[in-house]
Symmetry: C2
Subunit: 362 residues, 2 copies
DNA sequence: GTGAAAGCGCTAACAC
DNA sequence: GTGTTAGCGCTTTCAC
């Protein structure tokens, strides 16, 4: 592998001169155009590629940021994509620090330190871990920012970190408002059941919008299913909702996954969507577009969240800006597809499939 | 940031001694247990974290591999996950080298060289690019391997690279065999339409299985839709298939995306799946499980593909094994869900929903 | 058993 | 206008 010394020898100059020319730091020093050209030619001729490792060592910092967290779920990879795009456009590379359970979380932090990363984006939601990571990393001068797909309890226990979120509360309120506008009155919520965490904002938005529409929320209208992917439980939650003589005419779901299961369950119960039941999801994953019928859902701006968090991190790295803001909340968008329709007066809904195209309600 | 020198000073030894102890290279040299302990204690007390950059520089190589390619599509991220898991378990980190079109592909190669990566996994399917990358990287002693989700033309023009593929030909043949076993005779294929590339293996598998079952493949039975995500075109392809008086009773699709569109189109045409029409997808993406009805599909082992390609790459890096094998083909699995059913003699199909659970046909 | 010296490829001060 | 010197934090080699 050719080094600067090789280039220098070939161009008949000293090695530091090569460094100056190749990095374009010819501002202060005067280097003759002829020498410059000779060096550039020599570099090209030898196929010189700068050794970023050596550069990083002498500079004391790398142009690499780390991303903590899994990379399986669709929303994570979409956020990751945003992060990588922005990072790369500013000359930074992205290293993946996968934490698959156990003490490998600790290891991830250590890796970040050992690699002398310029900064770290966490996609974790484990608040306890974040606190520890924060302590360890800031001690080493490595900024940490968080991008979160599940708007956690924004209460007291939250670590004082800059984080990017989607406005789940407003998003869910928009979904309910959409249904209210379609004439629905009995609107149920199916959400996740982990105690006291991820789904709080979405439920809050639901309740807020229901209150605003002066609609009542009987206890039976809010179902918490523990395992989101647990079909049996979800189906049971739906069944118990539909068993009610005054069953809901519309259901908002805290995730697209739940909504998909609701669609299947509705079908199995002989209910047609949206004729007999309107369904709204949350996230706008791939599958929502391909659902039957295509799912009306609240789109979270995952890519954008990744972009924003990366941009803030890079600002912090460049010292341009201290990470002062506690969080940045990005708006969601309601995507109206075909799983929602007008409620009829008798509690049934009217199909208006033909006239309805996919559209976005800002 | 504390260095080895700091630790050495604290322990009252020379810095290289610290290096030996902390890296466990105490085999050849004799270092007293007391000194060893003093050094370990000092390291712990100072919170010493080795600087991997410095180490990489002096060793001339990093323990980092790069991954070339996009990270948006689900199968890519699933392959990526496999790569990262294996890499990390062997002490390697993964850097993402996103190439979003144009000359940024070139830049990706340069980045790999400049970062002195230990090896590179490509998830690209651009054969011309791969040839160039191969040349550039091997010149620098950086091994390159390929993991491919679309079994490309395995013909002459292919670069001599180690690559991991899924056995799409056999997978598609399995899908057809499954339909044949259910009594279907008129089985159509809907595939992608890029001339002469990605879909070849799947079509080949289809034709092979049809031939084996002594079924005819009229020209109209194979539809190529250019844009896979182009609903209008896909719907048209289906419509023209179904317009035929002797319409197919089953359709195999080259991707799950196509299959999802077929499900929607079938519904819009008043056909019930699987009662009137059996549908099989390809890939087993998330959405397949949540389709209506849940989609029978050929599962490609994406995670596994990533694991295998990473393992081979690491072997090559360690010099354990030269990259001799031209390719490794991993088996697919037919996942039977509810979008396929028995064909009835009159060209209609019988619903056997209740008795059929999700199952895997090996 | 341990210390001293050299050098990886580069940048940042200087001196010439 | 250009060359020289020093040093980043570590590993390796060799002398004590």
């Amino acid at each position: 592998m050719t080094t600067m010394r090789d280039v220098a020898a070939r161009a008949g100059v000293a090695q530091p001169t090569v460094s100056l020319v190749l990095n374009g730091r010819t501002a202060g020093t005067y280097i003759s155009e002829a020498t410059r050209q000779r060096i550039l030619d020599a570099a090209k001729a030898t196929g010189y590629q700068p050794n970023q490792i050596a550069r990083a060592m002498v500079m004391g910092r790398t142009k690499v940021i780390g991303v903590l967290g899994g990379i399986s779920a669709e929303f994570v990879t979409r956020m990751l994509r945003g992060v990588v795009m922005v990072a790369q456009s500013k000359g930074y590379l992205v290293k993946i620090l996968l934490a698959h359970g156990g003490d490998s979380q600790e290891e991830s932090i250590q890796r970040a330190v050992q690699q002398r990363l310029a900064g770290v984006v966490s996609m974790h939601s484990d608040e306890a871990f974040l606190v520890k990571a924060q302590a360890e990393l800031t001690k080493r001068g490595i900024p940490l920012v968080v991008v979160d797909h599940t708007q956690l309890n924004l209460g007291a226990r939250q670590a004082p970190l800059f984080r990017v979120l989607s406005d789940d509360e407003q998003g869910m309120a928009d979904a309910v408002a959409h249904l209210v506008q379609l004439g629905h009155v009995r609107i149920a919520l199916i959400t996740g059941g982990y105690p006291g965490s991820a789904w709080a904002a979405r439920e809050k938005g639901y309740r807020k919008a229901m209150r605003k529409a002066r609609l009542s929320v009987p206890a039976a209208a809010v179902k918490k299913v523990v395992g989101v992917t647990d079909t049996a439980e979800c189906r049971e939650a739906l069944a118990s909702l539909l068993r009610n003589p005054r069953r809901p005419t519309a259901i908002v779901c805290a995730t697209d996954h739940i909504a998909m299961l609701v669609l299947q369950a509705a079908w199995d119960s002989g209910l047609r969507v949206p004729d007999d039941l309107s369904v709204v999801g949350f996230a706008d994953l791939d599958m929502a577009r391909y659902a039957h019928p295509p799912l009306t859902t609240v789109a979270q701006p995952f890519e954008r969240m990744g972009e924003v968090v990366a941009a803030r991190l890079l600002d912090a790295i460049d010292g341009k800006q201290t990470i002062a803001t506690r969080s940045e909340v990005l708006p969601t968008r309601l995507i109206v597809r075909r799983s929602t329709a007008m409620a009829l007066a008798d509690g049934r809904t009217r199909l208006r499939r033909k006239e309805r195209k996919e559209r976005v309600v800002p």
